[in-house]
């Protein structure tokens, strides 16, 4: 029990610190892609920049618009933050750590429903944006909220279907089982490249990241759902996005890139394996965080009808076909037709 609490504490801290430094890294990456330097004033290499940003956020005026729905206005960022932190509970961070008094499992909870939990929590996450956007009593915020909700619902479908293929291959919903099934270099990406592409595109859309950031969309909606937000409430919205980025990178690494598995993992064992496994997972996570940023600073934003078109008319049929083919292949290989 105690070790679980400690694990929760560590994961919480790590998520927040990574989210903090993701903001710094985002600005750096943007700068590098644009032949600039990026933040370099606060501390060596600007490493204290996230702290400076945080202090600034806290010191800003905490503003609530007069005609807004006060309680919902406050609840919005809270829900967004809560849901994005919740998802980290079922991520398996590494192989068991062996101690004298038994193994420590590096996973807060291994629910029976596994990946469905993430899908469920993510689907609830849209309420943060919707409530915040509506409660602001501002038409741009409302537009942002409505865009976010329809976008999320549309992309959840394709996302769910592409996850089902992985679940079918593994025969389990638990993320730990899915990871264990990809032992060594036996990663799902080699069997399910299409599912990976679909899942990746959908998670970009679920995260409201460019090129699918239509809910924020500075150029038309002045910031969308968080137009009226300021101070740390705005900070929470932005922070939730970065925590979400971290978690979805983790989920992508686990579903398709073997989680804490790495080639040649059979030659080490015990705690070395555990440490190397955690390192392997984090390397993959950082790589995907980088890729998500890379995409953001490369691609222009979609138009909303293009977004819907892509979601409903391209991704969902593709995911369904992929599901069908996977099912057939599994049926053939397990000899159901003999």
């Amino acid at each position: 029990m105690l070790e679980k609490l400690i694990l929760v504490g560590i994961i919480f801290t790590i998520s927040l610190v990574i989210a903090m430094y993701a903001t710094y890294f985002e600005r750096k990456v943007a700068a590098w892609f644009q032949d600039r330097i990026g933040p370099d004033r606060a501390g060596p290499f600007g490493l204290l920049q996230p702290l400076a940003d945080g202090v600034k956020m806290f010191l800003k005026e905490d503003f609530i618009p007069r005609n807004s729905d006060k309680w919902l206005f406050i609840m919005g960022p809270g829900i967004a933050m809560f849901t994005s932190l919740m998802t980290s509970t079922i991520i398996p961070w590494g192989p068991d750590i062996v101690t004298a008094s038994g193994n420590i499992v590096l996973q807060v909870a291994d629910f029976d429903i596994g990946i469905l939990f993430i899908l469920g929590v993510v689907s609830v996450g849209v309420y943060g944006i919707m409530i915040g956007g509506w409660a602001s009593n501002n038409k741009f915020s409302l537009f942002g909220a409505i865009r976010a909700s329809s976008q999320m619902i549309s992309y959840e479908l394709a996302m769910g279907i592409s996850v089902i293929t992985i679940v079918m291959m593994t025969g389990s919903l638990s993320l730990r089982d899915i990871t264990e099934a990809q032992h060594g270099m036996n990663w799902n990406i080699f069997y399910q490249p299409l599912a990976f592409v679909i899942f990746f595109v959908c998670s970009l859309a679920e995260l409201n990241r460019a090129p699918f950031d239509l809910a924020e969309c500075e150029s038309e909606l002045i910031g969308g759902y968080h137009t009226e937000y300021g101070s740390m409430k705005l900070g929470f919205f932005l922070f939730a996005e970065y925590v979400g980025m971290f978690i979805s990178s983790a989920v992508i690494s686990i579903l398709f890139f073997g989680g804490y598995n790495f080639p040649g993992m059979d030659s080490v064992e015990g705690n070395t394996l555990a440490v190397l496994g955690v390192v392997a997972l984090f390397v993959k996570i950082f790589f995907f965080i980088f890729v998500i940023m890379w995409i953001r600073w490369t691609l222009p934003r979609f138009r909303f009808d293009q977004l819907m078109h892509l979601g409903w008319k391209r991704l969902i049929p593709l995911a369904l076909i992929n599901l069908l083919v996977t099912g057939l292949v599994i049926a053939f290989t397990s000899g159901w037709f003999n």
Binding site: W32, F33, Q34, R36, I37, W294, I295, W297, L299
Partner: protein, 180 residues
């Protein structure tokens, strides 16, 4: 029409091929382009530490020059104020008294000389108009202030001090009216 630069692209609206409709090659191509930029040299100027030299034609804050003996050049003729299209310059003239020859070069001088930096458009016409080589635009910047009144620069800010002379030798219009 024939292209002169050979850089123009012919626009066409023929339907996209399947590969183009996939968008993936284009997306990967774009991502490759941004990726190569990761390794390019940045062209940031770290401002407060490094500064960029202004062009010699740059027109910034004015200076009222003194001659080699430290006397103010300006004779309060008012030509600069007349030339100014923005009505930024005002002055009050006064006669040089006995014993003030070391302060003012001409017999008449400007007792008050004010430029409203909020009105000024930095066109440089005052510099062109001045017959006495008294006023020049320099490469210094007008700093920001909180009050409007602070932007009205009097002689205290405009006239150069002898300890800290403002070098205008490579300004564009210097030496144009040197005596022949």
């Amino acid at each position: 029409m024939q292209s002169l630069s050979n850089r123009s692209k012919v626009v066409s609206d023929k339907p996209m091929t399947f590969m183009e409709k996939l968008y993936l090659p284009a997306i990967l191509g774009g991502m490759w382009i941004t990726f190569t930029h990761l390794f390019r040299k940045h062209n940031t100027l770290k401002y407060p530490e490094q500064t960029k030299a202004f062009a010699p034609v740059y027109r910034g804050m004015h200076v009222l020059k003194r001659d080699e003996q430290g006397r103010e050049n300006c004779t309060a003729c008012g030509l600069c104020a007349v030339a100014c299209p923005a009505e930024a310059i005002t002055m009050v003239a006064n006669e040089r008294e006995q014993g003030e020859e070391h302060l003012y070069r001409e017999e008449k001088y400007a007792e008050i000389y004010e430029i409203n930096m909020l009105r000024c458009i930095f066109c440089g016409l005052c510099e062109e108009a001045c017959p006495k080589e008294a006023i020049f635009l320099t490469d210094r910047l007008v700093p920001t202030e909180y009050e409007r009144a602070d932007f009205i620069y009097g002689k205290d800010k405009l006239v150069e001090s002898m300890d800290y002379r403002i070098d205008i030798t490579d300004r564009q219009s210097t030496g144009k009216r040197t005596e022949k």
